[in-house]
Structure formats: structure tokens, C-alpha cells
Amino acid sequence: MIRTCGLEKYFGNNHVLRGIDVTVNPHEVVVIIGPSGSGKSTFLRCLNLLEKPTAGQVFFRGQCITDPHINVNEVRREMGMVFQRFNLFPHMSVIDNITLGPTKVRGVSIDEARQTARDLLKKVGIAEKENAYPSELSGGQQQRVAIARALAMKPTAMLFDEATSALDPEMIGEVLDVIRNLAEEGMTMVVVTHEMGFAREVGDRILFMDEGLILEEGPPQQVLERPQNPRTQAFLSKVL
């Protein structure tokens, strides 16, 4: 579904990604863990080209999307992204946040988009908030709207960039529940997270990243309980 090949990214002289080769299979949940500044988020943002890779390729559904002739908008509509800081549109009501993409990008009728939006709000457990504005919602509610907004585009894959890191502890659970349900439905997902328990539970595969490289990967039990790489061991001993 998603494959990267020798992916590198520089910010100025800062070599953030040093050659990443990853394959994400359909219906797979790949969880990326690692210390801050290891390049996890940058890697994720390269997948939908919010960051332009300096070198290497990204393939999505067999197509090389780092090719300059590719229409990035057509790629992005197929990949939903959820941000650490929600990034809801503050001047729009919840339902307008969710219907904007489908109506403007996919050309869905407003009635149909609203119906879909209501179904999604029900699914993420805040059906009653459709006319509220983002500032009237708690962090957990905002993030659930953000997930609904991404899902409204009917994406084939979802990217989660530390979706619970900006939340108060008591709100993390409600957001993780939504992501967990998505995983159970078979959504293809790449999840960057600091929640190790969650990583173990939903991840089909865990990638450990440090200093722009993937140092270890494998099933959760293997990476989290019997890490081979000394830096994975050091990281896990700090966070577990």
C-alpha cells in the first residue's frame, strides 16, 4: 500500500531522515516509536508529501508519488492525516469542518456530505456536537472531530502524528478507542505515538526510529519485550 525507498530528508544541514525503507501492507497497522527528534513525524509527513523528501521515493498504491509530475492533491485525498494539535478550522462549525473536504475536493453533494459527517460523528461518539465550534470542545473531542474530518474523505490509509500527545491524560483513552476501532475495521494505518501500551495493542508491526534511521522492526511482542538493538533497549527502559 505504502512503500518508501531510500527516503532522506534534510532541513538545512540537519540530516533528519537517513535512508528509510518501509513497506506498509493493506490493512496493516504500523506503529512508529522512538525518542523525540528521531525523525518519526518528519517521516510520516513525507508520506503525504507535507514535507518534500530530499532524496528517495515514496510509493502509494503502486504509484511513485515523489515523481514531480504527480498531482499531490489526488494523493493526499486518499491519505487521511491526524495531527498532534488537531488543526481544526476554528472559523467553521464541527460539521462544516468535516464536510469541507468531501464537497470541495471530491465534489460530493452537501446533503450527502452532511449525512456522512453525522454518521462519522456518531462513530467517534460526539453526534450531539455537530453545530459546535472547535473552541467549545475539549481536546479529546476536537481530536475525534479531526479524525472524523479525515475519515470523511474515505481515505485508503490513515496517518496519525502523535494524535494523543497534546491531550490531557483523561482524554487520551477516548481518542485511542476511536483509533483502535479503525484498526479493527481493517484500516491501513501508520501511527506515530508515545503510548507504548497502545502500540503493543493495535500495532501489527512496530518500527523503532532513532537519529533518522529505523533501527529495529518486528511484531510488538518482539520489539517491545525482546529488543535486540541496544538503543531500542535504552529507549524502552526509559519509557516503559
Binding site: 491519505m79 492525516m81 495531527f83 474530518r149 479525515a150
Partner: protein, 219 residues
């Protein structure tokens, strides 16, 4: 010599006529400035390098030179170039409009850049194009932040329009000068002129403060 404010009723009709022209000049100038400034402000943050450079030069030149010099360039300078005179009113609104455009361009630029990067990222990640993201996400939010500084720009134009008195346009200040030749009461007349400016600028800044509060509620 004592102050004589009994002349006031007699001079008010003339001064109010001048006030009307002052307000007209400021409104037209800011309207022109809004059109120029919107394009120039967007050009300043846009992706096209050439456009960024051109708009940058425009903004720097206008903000780095006095409005009076710009006015002279248009009114006295340009006719020698094009071979015929430019009517004072046209010269005034042209100079003021172009001047205002540069300041408004900076207001628009700052307004756009004040919007969190996450907003455009969220919009683009949904598959919206750059111009769709600008139109539906960035501009509506930037617009609210632009209103108050735009009000201040209007106040500045209202005051700076007094400069066009030097090209014989009978706006408020010029009307005052004319009235003085009739009444020989410069202090009283200039005082009234100043108070008329003050009344207008105070009213507008109140309006700006009120709109600022209103817009914050929605934010």
C-alpha cells in the same frame, strides 16, 4: 488679542464641505489601497519568486518615502513625462491609493502569516489545492485579524489626506486656510479643523475597538 469663537458658526459650512472631501479622499484611497494591497499582500507570501520581489520593492519604496514626495511625483512629475497635466483630485487619489496599498499589503501579509501553519497543513492534507486552502481556510481567518489594523490605516489616511492641501485640493485643511484669509483668525480656525479631525479619528478608533471585540467572540 483674545480668542473669538463667535466666528465658528460662520465658518462651519465651508469646513464641513472640506471635511466631506477629506472623507471622500480617505475612503477612495483606502478602497484603492485595499485592492492593490490584497494582491500585493498575497503576492508577498505566494510561491512565485518574481512576484515576491516586485511586490517587495513596491512595499519598500512606498513605505520608505514620504507621501508628500509621492504626491509631488504624481502631480508635478508625471505630467512632464506624459505631456499633459493631471487633475488634482485624480493625482491625490492615485498617490494616496498607491501609498495605502503598500501599507495594506503589509497588513494583509501579516494577517495571512499570523495563521497557524497547521491550518494550511490540515487543509492540504485533505487534498485541497493551495488556492482552495487560501480561500476557505486562510483568508476567512486572516480577514478577522486584518479588520482592526485596516481601521488604523483608514485613520492614518484620513489624517495624511491633509497633505493634498498643497496641490490646491479644498479638503478640510485647505478649506481652513481659505477661511483664515477671510476671518484672520488662524488659531481658532486651525483649532476647529483639528477638532474635526479628532472627532472623526476618535469615532473610527472606537468602531475598530468594538469590531475587534465582536470578532474575538467568534474566533
Amino acid at each position: 488679542m483674545t480668542l473669538d469663537f463667535s466666528i465658528i458658526p460662520g465658518i462651519m459650512p465651508a469646513l464641513l464641505l472640506g471635511t466631506r472631501l477629506t472623507v471622500e479622499l480617505a475612503i477612495i484611497a483606502v478602497a484603492i489601497g485595499l485592492v492593490i494591497g490584497s494582491f500585493a499582500g498575497i503576492g508577498r507570501v505566494g510561491g512565485n519568486r518574481i512576484v515576491r520581489i516586485i511586490t517587495g520593492i513596491y512595499v519598500d519604496f512606498i513605505r520608505g518615502t514620504p507621501l508628500l514626495v509621492q504626491l509631488f511625483l504624481v502631480y508635478f512629475g508625471l505630467p512632464s513625462l506624459i505631456g499633459r497635466p493631471i487633475p488634482p483630485f485624480l493625482a491625490a487619489i492615485a498617490a494616496m491609493g498607491i501609498n495605502s496599498g503598500a501599507y495594506i499589503a503589509e497588513i494583509v501579509r501579516a494577517g495571512i502569516q499570523s495563521i497557524d501553519r497547521g491550518q494550511i497543513e490540515a487543509a492540504r492534507s485533505l487534498g485541497l489545492t493551495y488556492s482552495q486552502s487560501m480561500r476557505y481556510i486562510i483568508f476567512p481567518q486572516a480577514f478577522r485579524r486584518i479588520i482592526p489594523p485596516l481601521g488604523n490605516e483608514f485613520i492614518a489616511m484620513l489624517k495624511d489626506s491633509s497633505l493634498v492641501s498643497v496641490i490646491a485640493l479644498e479638503e478640510l485643511l485647505r478649506k481652513g486656510q481659505v477661511v483664515i484669509t477671510r476671518t484672520f483668525r488662524p488659531f481658532e480656525v486651525y483649532m476647529v479643523v483639528a477638532l474635526i479631525y479628532l472627532t472623526m479619528t476618535l469615532a473610527i478608533s472606537r468602531l475598530v475597538a468594538w469590531s475587534e471585540k465582536r470578532l474575538k467572540i467568534v474566533d
